[in-house]
């Protein structure tokens, strides 16, 4: 591996993506802390703090900025390393980075000046400053450019290596970006054709149901855009970090492909409680959602088998002894594996959300943020933190500042999120609404208090872990004097790619199948929405019940 060493220019491009991600999560978790405290009545009213402004920052900076910049850096590096080939174009890379960063700055300006207190889902007819929508557009377009750079790298490799099988690391990364192009189509249409002209005053009225539907066409594959990069790390890096091998390479490819096909045509499972969409199509999307449990269970099996193999390689015997042989003292391994455990709970709670009428119990209660901090908030986030412990040294050439701090970061976050998630989810079952500054709510029920306090304790631990992470990264970047001696960890497989059907790499065919599934599942939904919901909603500022006419 690594016939062609990565250039300084490539390293600089990728590490700047990480720096923006770290600035984003620093602000993001600060507001997370304020949220848990405010909800539990542990925060006095403070004139500078607006819960919903903070929550908009929290959602945008954590779920959109921290994730996207990490994903671009991790996957570009994964493709670069597994193909042993330079990135297609540095200037294309910087163009993508520049567009995304300008977009974040524009949206950030709108949120900072309280002209975009609309949360990260920006449902109309709540209206934000045009800079917010423009910023979102630039972030998306920038990510398209960054994705193009990765895909063109692959295309160039394919031309140089006809007939050769794509390494799994690259295979998974390409799936992520292809999925991203399919998904962002929905939100791009929503923002460019509905929201931007409307916020500029070019049209006065808009269609909130259509906007919701386009948003969730994007919103569900969005969660796989977050999650699949973690899968790439789990499948192709963690077995190596554990001192073993991936159990089955072909099975991993099957999981990636299934997620490519089935994660988009099921977005209506976020709209079970919506008007304007018929029950029958909600049910179809519910069934579609359950198809996704197959690749998830395949992944659970494959990863567990890989870990067991590694544990036995390290001398583990018997039924559970191998678990203790794994390198739990290595931050990269520990963080990623704790992420998988969190994801097991995230997946199970997700099945509750997906279950059609069971969703009525939990929809828009604090159960949902409880669930999503196990998935994007930990499975993905803690994996990125774990990978940063070798990626930042690799990209800066400076050794990790402190392994102990890194370990504390991983374990404290894990313990914190487990407490936080149980508090949020139990509270949700008792009816706590989400997206709500409950501490200042006149109807706060006394039976919610223990769960709100529990979430506050867990959330505070997560915040402390996040600070440890940022401290460790800052010290590594600025003060570490030791040279780094790390390589990109690339796992071998027990059952190798040679067994994978060649058809797995027929991208055009899979794209066509994905398109057909989307047309089948979304044509009736969009027809119903367009037939029943008018373009009649004037905009509203979050602070004023009078419409903007």
């Amino acid at each position: 591996m690594g016939a062609m060493a990565i250039s300084e220019g490539e390293k600089r491009l990728l590490r700047w993506h990480l720096y923006i991600a770290y600035i984003a999560i620093a602000v993001g978790i600060l507001f997370g802390l304020l949220q848990v405290l405010s909800r539990a009545r542990l925060l006095p009213p403070m004139p500078w703090y607006d819960y919903y402004q903070g929550l908009t920052f929290h959602g945008v900076l954590n779920a959109l900025v921290w994730t996207t910049f990490n994903i671009v850096a991790l996957l570009a590096l994964a493709v670069r390393a597994s193909l042993s080939r330079p990135l297609y174009s540095l200037s294309l890379g910087w163009t993508g980075f520049g567009l995304m960063t300008i977009g974040v700055a524009a949206a950030g300006y709108a949120i900072l000046t309280r002209q975009a207190n609309v949360l990260y889902t920006f449902y109309p007819p709540l209206m934000a400053h045009p800079a917010f929508y423009l910023g979102a557009t630039l972030l998306i377009v920038g990510s398209w450019v960054a994705g193009a750079n990765v895909i063109l790298t692959y295309v160039a490799w394919r031309r140089e290596n006809p007939g050769q099988r794509t390494p799994l690391m690259t295979f998974g990364s390409i799936v992520v970006f292809v999925l991203w192009y399919i998904a962002t189509l929905g939100v791009a249409i929503e923002v460019l054709f509905l929201l931007l002209p409307w916020s500029l005053g070019l049209v006065k009225q808009t269609n909130p149901m259509l906007a919701r539907t386009l948003f969730w066409y994007f919103g569900h594959p969005l969660v796989y855009f977050w999650l699949l990069p973690a899968y790439v790390a789990w499948y192709t890096m963690v077995p190596r970090l554990a001192g073993g091998k991936l159990y089955s390479d072909p099975m991993a490819r099957l999981a990636f492909l299934m997620l490519l096909l089935f994660s988009t045509p099921i977005g209506v499972h976020h709209q079970y409680t919506d008007p304007a969409i018929g029950q029958e199509w909600k049910l179809v999307h519910a069934f579609g959602t359950f198809i996704v449990t197959i690749p998830s269970l395949l992944t659970a099996f494959n990863l567990m088998a890989s870990l067991e193999y590694a544990g036995r390689q390290r001398g583990g015997r018997g039924l559970i002894d191998w678990i203790f042989r794994l390198p739990w003292g290595e931050p990269a391994f520990a963080g990623a594996t704790l992420s998988m455990i969190a994801f097991a709970f995230g997946g199970i709670s997700g099945i509750v959300n997906a279950s059609y009428n069971v969703n009525l119990v939990v929809h828009n209660t604090s159960w949902v943020p409880g669930h999503l901090h196990l998935t994007v908030g930990t499975a993905v986030t803690l994996t990125f933190m774990a990978m940063a412990t070798w990626m930042v040294p690799y990209l800066t050439g400076r050794a990790l500042w402190s392994r102990k701090v890194a370990l504390a970061n991983m374990y404290v976050w894990f313990v914190g999120v487990m407490i936080f998630a149980v508090g949020m989810m139990r509270g949700g079952l008792e009816g706590e609404p989400r997206r709500t500054n409950l501490g200042f709510s006149p109807y706060l029920l006394p039976e919610w208090m223990p769960f709100l306090v529990m979430a506050a304790i867990g959330g505070t631990l997560m915040f402390i872990a996040g600070v440890l992470f940022l401290l460790n990264m800052a010290m590594t970047i600025w003060f570490s004097r030791q040279p780094a001696q790390v390589e990109v960890p690339i796992s071998d497989a027990l059952h190798t790619a040679a067994d994978a059907p060649l058809a797995f790499e027929r991208w055009r065919v899979w794209l066509a199948v994905a398109a057909v599934l989307i047309v089948i599942s979304y044509t009736p939904v969009l027809t119903q929405v367009l037939q029943t919901s008018p373009f009649s909603a004037y905009g509203f500022l979050p602070s004023n019940p009078a419409p903007i006419r």
């Binding site: 007819p125 269609n207 149901m209 409680t273 009525l360």
Partner: protein, 171 residues
């Protein structure tokens, strides 16, 4: 008063023209049935009193969500009632969750949502708005009061629809 015949023609003609305009509007609106958008509380079912008993023991409740309250804020029904909720929003998106029931839906302006529940247990049911709707979102709630049936009472209470005349804020 007006001496000049031309002036008289002008005034009379203007009045006639105005009357013609009125007639045209009336014919257009009611004869041809072309209506302009109106306040949601003018449109069925939201023009009805909020709580309507449609059959013995069966109620329809027409709820309008708006920044930052539900209309009606309080719904009274006897225990054992089967209640259908029609829900819409007058401004932005809202949520509507009745605690300890399976009623959970979104209020989206321009469309009507619907859900049904039976209330057998007397007591108070909290309704919360669970979709962010602006500044006062965390204060947005309503209540359902399920009243116990009097002893020996066979059927449900006589109709006690609380007519809550809604004033569109715009007027």
């Amino acid at each position: 008063m007006v001496q000049d015949p031309f002036e008289r023609v002008a005034i009379f003609g203007a009045g006639l023209l105005m009357t013609a305009f009125f007639l045209a509007i009336v014919v257009g609106a009611f004869g041809l049935g072309i209506r302009v958008p109106t306040c949601v509380t003018d449109i069925p079912p939201f023009d009805q009193p909020a709580v309507v008993e449609v059959a013995p023991g069966q109620y329809v409740v027409n709820v309008v969500a708006q920044m930052w309250l539900f209309n009606p804020r309080e719904i009274r029904i006897p225990a054992g009632s089967l209640v259908t909720f029609n829900l819409t929003s007058k401004d932005v998106q809202h949520g509507f969750k009745i605690l300890n029931t399976n009623v959970n839906m979104m209020a989206v302006p321009g469309v009507v949502n619907r859900a049904q529940a039976r209330f057998d247990q007397p007591g108070e049911y909290l309704i919360v708005c669970h979709e962010y709707c602006g500044l006062g979102h965390h204060a947005m709630s309503a209540r359902i009061i399920v009243e116990p049936r009097a002893a020996g009472d066979q059927g449900p209470d006589p109709a006690r629809a609380v007519a809550s005349a809604l004033a569109c804020w715009a007027r």
